[in-house]
Symmetry: C2
Subunit: 186 residues, 2 copies
């Protein structure tokens, strides 16, 4: 676990610490090891009258493409707090979490995505600083080729698969899929 105090004055170099088997970021002054672990993305499929909240990305990667309100979890929050914060930051949306829809692993990026199903707690959405545009879209209106990431596509499909169920086990990656962008699109 991280130790904020010992990192504050850190002078970090990368090497394999004694007794370890992998390269780590080590403070050469105090010996503190900053273990790097996969990062957690928290987000949600926010639905309203059969339509889904999507945000057009104002930042790279995949600027201009559409994504779910989602982003890196911050320190000292819970997973649902993180998903609610991201919806607020990216779409000014106050949401209520319903259920965990999916846990996706993107090993190439060392990323784990926790995607919840949610609805608006209070009406109203507007683009946050990282979104060019936000809106609710029916499935017919969503162009697959304009989605930012494979996992957005997965989450929309998984949302539809359990749209009539209140309780369900969360989905994982579709078989054989690791979240890599393909030359032919999603």
């Amino acid at each position: 676990m991280s130790d904020d105090a010992s990192q504050a004055k850190g002078n970090f170099k990368r090497f394999i610490p004694e007794g370890d088997s992998l390269e780590r970021l080590v403070c050469v002054d105090c010996g503190f090891i900053n273990y790097e672990n996969p990062k957690i993305v928290v987000g949600s499929v926010v639905h309203e009258g059969g339509k889904i909240l999507l945000c057009r990305r104002a930042i790279n990667p995949r600027k201009g493409f559409w994504t779910l309100p989602a982003g890196f979890m911050e320190q000292h929050e819970t997973t649902t707090e993180g998903a609610m914060r991201e919806a607020l930051e990216e779409a000014t949306a106050k949401i209520e979490i319903e259920a965990l829809l999916a846990v996706y692993s993107i090993p190439r990026l060392s990323q784990v995505q926790l995607i919840y199903r949610a609805h608006l707690a209070t009406p109203g959405i507007a683009p946050g600083p990282e979104s060019e545009e936000v809106g609710f879209f029916s499935f017919d209106e969503i162009a697959r080729k304009e989605l930012a990431f494979p996992s957005v596509h997965w989450a929309l499909g998984h949302f539809r698969a359990v749209a009539d169920q209140a309780h369900f086990p969360p989905f994982a990656n579709p078989p054989g899929e690791l979240g890599d962008l393909k030359p032919e699109g999603l």
Copy 2:
């Protein structure tokens, strides 16, 4: 996401980067920002004939106390690969994952725990380097006060609650619980 190449020669200091709102670990040579995010613990409740696999910790924190095979997820693996690796490392156990039992958040430690339900894929367990002792125990044999962490206690309870169900939504923290050790024990 992390960028291994730019971290390799990093000379990291902690401050609030321009345009950000939180302190980050920044390389003062190249400007690379090493965002710190919550860490993921992957583990499993491994069951066999109504008994549960527990490991007596050979290392701190909570050396000598009993825990589930679980640990920090490494880079470039999936969540289930991580849970399988931990069972192998801590109990020399080859396991098969059945279902996601729980997603716990421990905000004080900036930790998210993904706990799976699993069974042995091949017979045989033995202590790994981080375990003093491993064994399968019935619920009557498990002493609550000898468990290492609150989340071990939660996971055992949640396992029992769905022991007869093949498909179920994963549990979250028990209401009001944030995983802090209490003076009176778990």
